[in-house]
């Protein structure tokens, strides 16, 4: 399964910073709205979440416990 950041259009102000920092081409701007494309190599660097000042982009971690 390909994973991608979670986007909340309501919160997005269209600043485009997330697109500027994304290194995998998963994010693009279309008519001032962020479009997230599923790509195989989103490395979950979380830079898009880091620069988004409105909280519109989120990169949550799935928390898994290793059975010991």
């Amino acid at each position: 399964m390909t994973i991608k950041p979670i986007f909340d259009q309501e919160k997005c102000d269209g600043c485009g910073l997330c697109v500027t920092v994304c290194r995998c081409g998963a994010l693009e701007m279309q008519n001032n709205i962020v479009n997230i494309i599923e790509v195989a190599h989103c490395g979950w660097c979380m830079d898009c979440e880091l620069v988004c000042s409105t909280g519109a982009l989120q990169c949550p971690f799935e928390i898994v416990t290793l059975d010991t």
């Binding site: 600043c15 971690f61 928390i63």
Partner: protein
């Protein structure tokens, strides 16, 4: 790309200036485009220019002797960095790196001080920018030295480590920061420390708790 009065008017340092006052400014500035990952200012450099982000975003950070990084602040369009050496002579106290393609303007110390001498609004804006940074740094000092953020993060991870009715728990670094009462930058550092100690493993979007006992110890739970 040309520096215009309009583009300078968007910088916080020059907020409140009349168009006619702004029209004299472009000649005092220089500009340069940086690509993702490029260093704009290196810690300990002698650089007495105030820099401004016109577009893009810049990460300001310090690096320890072991290469560990602490992000201090992200500088977004309209904001400034490297103001400190201009008002307090000495090397740059931090490094600044472009997080994406970024356009930077800068002005040298002599020209900025001249502008401040003749323009009260610029002086107040500059003081406000530097005071903002001081406040943020004091907050960082508090978080890094008085709060046991790593312990708090360990506790949060333990509390979210059991799958609930909605499946595997998911948490962002912003959510962890809000729960721990700190900034995302400080949580980032704690997660790195937890990873280095072998308590957790970060694999893409999965955070694997590999040493629950150690996490409990850090969280003060045993």
């Amino acid at each position: 790309m040309t520096i215009t009065a309009e583009s300078l008017g968007k910088l916080k340092y020059f907020a409140g200036l009349e168009p006619q006052q702004l029209s004299n400014l472009p000649q005092l500035f220089k500009e340069k485009a940086f690509v993702k990952g490029q260093t704009i200012v290196a810690e300990a450099d002698i650089n007495e220019n105030v820099h401004f982000v016109s577009s893009g975003v810049v990460k300001v950070f310090k690096t320890s002797s072991e290469g560990k990084e602490q992000i201090i602040k992200l500088i977004r369009p309209g904001e400034s960095f490297n103001d400190i050496p201009v008002f307090n002579p000495g090397p740059s106290p931090y490094s600044a790196q472009a997080l994406g393609n970024t356009l930077i303007y800068w002005i040298d110390k002599k020209d900025l001080l001249g502008l401040m001498r003749n323009n009260w609004a610029v002086t107040v804006n500059a003081l406000s920018a530097v005071a903002d940074q001081s406040r943020l740094l004091l907050q960082l000092v508090e978080d890094l030295s008085f709060k046991n953020v790593t312990g708090r993060v360990a506790k949060i991870l333990l509390q979210h480590s059991t799958p609930g009715p909605e499946g595997t728990p998911r948490l962002t670094q912003y959510e962890m920061a809000a729960m721990a009462g700190t900034a995302r930058e400080v949580v980032g550092r704690s997660l790195k420390a937890l990873e280095d100690s072998g308590a957790i493993k970060l694999e893409g979007h999965r955070m694997i708790i590999s040493n629950k006992e150690y996490l409990k110890q850090l969280a003060g739970l045993n």
